[in-house]
């Protein structure tokens, strides 16, 4: 039996009718056609599907659609808008060459943003820990970690 679910995604209200066993990732990618959130494993092991649920990073493939009824979700599409400035994490990813194939990138950006939101000056160990659930097979993480450090710096400058 399909259920009616209301959710807020990137500040907009949506209503979807869905089978209750579909996941938030299914709803985002298939119903709302927000394909920036990636499906890498569908079982909570790669982090490619990371979104912010009420401000906290989660694997959207592990969350059933009915659980997000009335909740607020931010996907990569909500982090920046065309013609507006990028988020400092995004800028830093570009500058530091923290991207190769890009498939892990949306999830990485979300996890990094969530980290810097709760801990503006993370140590290298804290950065690595915050990204431990996001697999990247291309970069060896070196430039990703550098980018998160650089983003923290940028945000610090932005605050002062």
């Amino acid at each position: 039996m399909k259920q009616r679910i209301k959710l807020f995604v990137n500040g907009e209200a949506y209503e979807v009718y869905t089978e209750p066993n579909r996941t938030l990732l299914d709803v985002l990618r298939e119903d709302l056609e927000l394909t920036g959130t990636k499906r890498g494993c569908d079982s909570g092991e790669c982090g490619a599907c990371t979104v912010l649920l009420n401000g906290k990073p989660v694997n959207s493939c592990l969350i059933l659609a009915p659980e997000v009824d009335g909740q607020s979700v931010v996907t990569i599409e909500g982090i920046s808008k065309p013609n507006l400035p990028l988020h400092p994490v995004q800028e830093a990813f570009i500058e530091k060459w923290a991207i190769q194939c890009g498939f892990c990138t949306p999830g990485m950006v979300i996890s990094a943003k969530a980290l810097l939101d709760r801990n503006p000056e993370p140590s290298e160990e804290e950065i690595k820990l915050a990204l431990a659930g996001n697999l990247c097979r291309c970069t060896g993480y070196v430039k990703i970690v550098e980018a998160v450090k650089a983003a923290a710096e940028k945000m610090k400058e932005g605050r002062s």
Binding site: R29, E33, T35, G36, T37, K38, R39, G40, C41, D42, S43, E45, C46, A48, T75, I76, E77, I79, S80, P82, L86, Q90, F93, I94, E95, W97, I99, Q100, C101, G102, F103, C104, T105, P106, V109, I127, K128, L129, L131, A132, G133, N134, L135, C136, R137, C138, T139, G140, Y141, V142, K143, I144, V145
Partner: protein, 762 residues
């Protein structure tokens, strides 16, 4: 007086990636993001058996399910494909040869119905004896996996041995092996084993296929070689290439050699042939991506080396056995390349290398970053260390003593080598970790080096188009796998044409519009396609200057371009590309430059000595916990001779990524099977890949020994970055605690027991 126009070269500059903005904002489109009108979804029923006859298949119940539009089995698509040897059916025909082989497939209006429908298909099997171990498969009484081996078509370089499980066999011999060993003061030999591993691309496999009313096939697929895919399909289906169109999705989420050849395409096309022009999409789950796409070959490598007292290696004999699984895929040429680096990057006068590509009932093994070298290198680079130990020599010094240098003769193929930066790699990598420093107990250093060929000969064609608005398009079939090819080609074209990078875009491959390119593999693209686009840019520039010369009233030789403008060399008014074109062709026109590169080396595909060689040396410092066996990597220096770094950051990215991928398969990655051939860890939970927590301190070092034929001297880098990792770490393990492990991976458990044995044993 000549005016000096300041132009800073774009070559060697770390421009930011041209695709970074789309990727970092989540707007980059990958295969699974594509939807189409009328799209159907396919699911595959896979074999639960490693080796069995198919007695009966009944699809009637699946076909009757509402929403199901087509069901196919092997009989509906009686084709066999394969780049090197055409042995692989689109879906199993009469028998299955590995657990996970497609047996039937369903296309339905949604994925859930398709999923339900495949469960309704009844298949009756009759078990056949299976063989999984590569050495067992070579025994005279081993079950034969391909009874029809003698009937398969193959490229000339591949020579199967009918009546056995030998899919291909290669042999290289130079000098006089017996004499060499007789002259040696020390001879040692040993056997090393290599565990199968997986690419672990974060993007799972997918494809969309559509057959139009004329029967023409279009496939949208993240495949690393659209031109080759079209040929492979045409060869398999016995239809002309122009009946097939391959379109790359804008982006691919990692390949590492896995997303090439025929994978999901085969089943997807078989279904699309029965869906009355409706497109069919198949996306594999993570489990299917593990179980049924491709693995890196497990291997057994035996090496024997003989050396003089002073460390000079005078003879080397290797026998390499690659477990290629149920079908050939690229296994034969993986084996060939493994052989081509079968004695290491050393000037050894007497050699023999034998390579065997062997069928078993394992999933198909093929290309994975390094193409046969991670296995062969693991063996000879471990053995060189053992040799050094026996001779009382330093592992770095024995390598420097034997290393190939400019003008050396390639020990395998006998060609003269140039653009050889090996010694510099060895010296710089060693220095970066302070090689000679005295270290506390349980710490050690290891080094390994290698050289790698690229597939030769192979061709690339490109266009460079200057539009009437002055913008530039690079028309190419090179695939952006993540390596940064669009950025590199942009830099090369910008430099050659005198355009600014932001005027340039690089196409996404579509075989209807983008010209032939052999493949985006073998680290060949910067060199081959780089040369092709450079020539096309030169041609476009020539035409542009001819137009401009009419406007300026001076000869084209007196004009030049930079930053999207034409200017007289002696100074004067600048004109933008747009102004030049529109002033001349007032109603508009495009300028089309053409370029091709095909090395001037005779031979058929893969048969010739390499047009360039990449050289690398890795040095690592580790610490071993003798209580737990855990290896911690303290410092990892990887030096690579790339000819010329077009974009140093891109090269660093390849090194850092390749090293960590290599650390994974060295320390813990291993595909495990039960005794029936079922994969036990087909997911990221049980198949452990490195995370950010496992990232060591990596020091990428770029060495430049320019290649006379490479674009601006460039060669390649991607594949070799992973190759020296395993022996470098194993050598460091020996250096740290005196334990030599000869089978990968070097898990903590294995190290722990090795230490225990060493302590208790003698």
């Amino acid at each position: 007086m000549t005016v000096q126009i300041s132009r800073e070269s774009l070559i060697g500059k770390s421009l930011t990636r041209v695709d970074a903005l789309e990727k970092v904002t989540g707007r980059a489109v990958y295969g699974d993001d594509i939807k189409m009108t009328g799209l159907l979804y396919g699911k595959i029923l896979r074999s639960p058996k490693a080796h069995a006859k198919i007695k009966r298949i009944d699809v009637s119940k699946a076909l009757a399910l509402e929403g199901v539009k087509a069901v196919v089995t092997g009989k509906d698509a009686p084709f066999r494909g394969g780049e090197a040897l055409r042995d692989q059916p689109f879906l199993a025909i009469d028998k299955v040869r590995f657990v996970g082989e497609p047996v039937a497939a369903v296309a339905a209006v949604d994925e859930r119905i398709a999923e339900e429908a495949i469960k309704l298909i009844e298949v009756e099997y009759e078990d056949l004896p299976a063989v999984f171990d590569v050495m067992d498969a070579l025994k005279p009484d081993a079950p034969i996996i391909h009874e029809e081996l003698h009937t398969y078509e193959h490229i000339p370089i591949v020579q199967p041995v009918p009546g056995t499980n030998i899919c291909a066999k290669f042999e290289f011999e130079r000098g006089d092996l017996e004499k060499g060993f007789a002259e040696a003061d020390v001879v040692i030999e040993d056997t090393f084993t290599f565990a199968p591993s997986h690419h672990g691309q974060i993007e799972p496999f997918m494809a969309i296929a559509q057959v139009d009313y004329n029967g023409r096939i279009t496939v949208w697929v993240p495949n690393d070689a659209p031109s080759r895919l079209r040929k492979d399909l045409s060869d398999a289906m016995k239809i002309p290439q122009d009946r097939i169109r391959v379109i790359s999705p804008p982006y691919m989420g990692g390949g590492f050699g896995g997303k090439g050849g025929l994978k999901v395409e085969m089943v997807c096309i078989a279904l699309a042939m029965k869906t009355e022009c409706r497109p069919v999409k198949i996306r594999l789950t993570r489990e299917e991506t593990f179980e049924a796409t491709l693995t890196r070959h497990g291997a057994v490598c035996w090496v024997k080396m003989g050396a003089k007292k002073d460390g000079r290696i005078v003879a080397c004999h290797s026998k390499l056995y690659y477990n290629t699984g149920a079908y050939a895929e690229k296994g034969p040429t993986v084996t060939l390349h493994g052989c081509e680096s079968g004695v290491g990057p050393y000037d050894i006068p007497n050699i023999k290398v034998e390579g065997y590509c062997v069928y078993t009932n394992r999933p198909v093994a093929g290309a994975l970053r390094g193409y046969g070298l991670p296995q062969s290198s693991w063996a000879h680079e471990s053995l060189v260390d053992m040799l050094a130990h026996k001779l009382g020599l330093d592992p770095l010094e024995i390598r420097l003593k034997n290393a190939l240098v400019e003008g050396s003769i390639n020990p395998i193929r006998g060609d003269e080598l140039f653009s050889v930066g090996l010694k510099e790699c060895l010296e710089k990598a060693a220095k970066a970790i302070d090689w000679y420093k005295k270290r506390p107990p349980n710490r050690g250093v290891g080094i390994a080096c290698e050289y790698k060929a690229t597939k030769t000969p192979s061709g690339s064609t490109a266009f460079v188009r200057i539009e009437q608005d002055g913008s530039v398009e690079v028309v190419t079939s090179s695939v952006e796998i993540g390596q940064g090819v669009r950025t590199i080609l942009t830099q090369i074209v910008a430099e050659e044409l005198g355009a600014s990078p932001n005027m340039i875009k690089v196409t996404v491959p579509d075989t209807d519009y983008t010209p032939f390119d052999a493949s985006t593999t073998a680290s060949r693209t910067t060199f081959h396609m780089g040369n092709a686009v450079r020539e096309a840019a030169r041609d476009a520039k020539k035409q542009l200057l001819e137009l401009a010369s009419k406007l300026y009233g001076i000869s084209p030789e007196r004009l030049d371009t930079w930053d999207g403008k034409v200017f007289p060399k002696e100074g004067g008014k600048e004109m933008s590309f747009r102004e030049v074109i529109t002033s001349h062709y007032r109603a508009g026109l495009s300028i089309l430059g053409r370029g091709s590169y095909y090395p001037n080396i005779p031979g058929t595909l893969f048969s010739a000595h390499s047009v360039f060689y990449m050289y690398a040396a890795h040095a690592v410092e580790i610490e071993v916990d003798p209580e737990t066996g855990v290896i911690t990597i303290l410092k990892y220096a990887a030096a690579h001779d790339v000819g010329r770094a077009i974009n140093p950051k891109a090269c660093e990215g390849q090194i850092e990524g390749g090293v960590l991928q290599g650390i994974g398969s060295t320390l813990y990655e291993e595909i495990l099977f039960d005794d029936k051939g079922v994969m036990l860890n087909p997911n990221f939970r049980d198949y452990k890949m490195p995370t950010s927590m496992d990232m060591p301190k990596v020091i990428p070092i770029i060495v430049e020994a320019p290649h006379k034929e490479g674009p601006f001297g460039a060669k390649g880098i991607g594949e070799i970055t992973l190759v020296p990792v395993s022996p470098a770490i194993a050598n460091a393990l020996f250096n740290a605690i005196g334990v030599r492990i000869k089978d990968l991976p070097l898990t903590a458990e294995k190290v722990y027991f090795a230490i225990k044995k060493q302590k208790g044993g003698n």
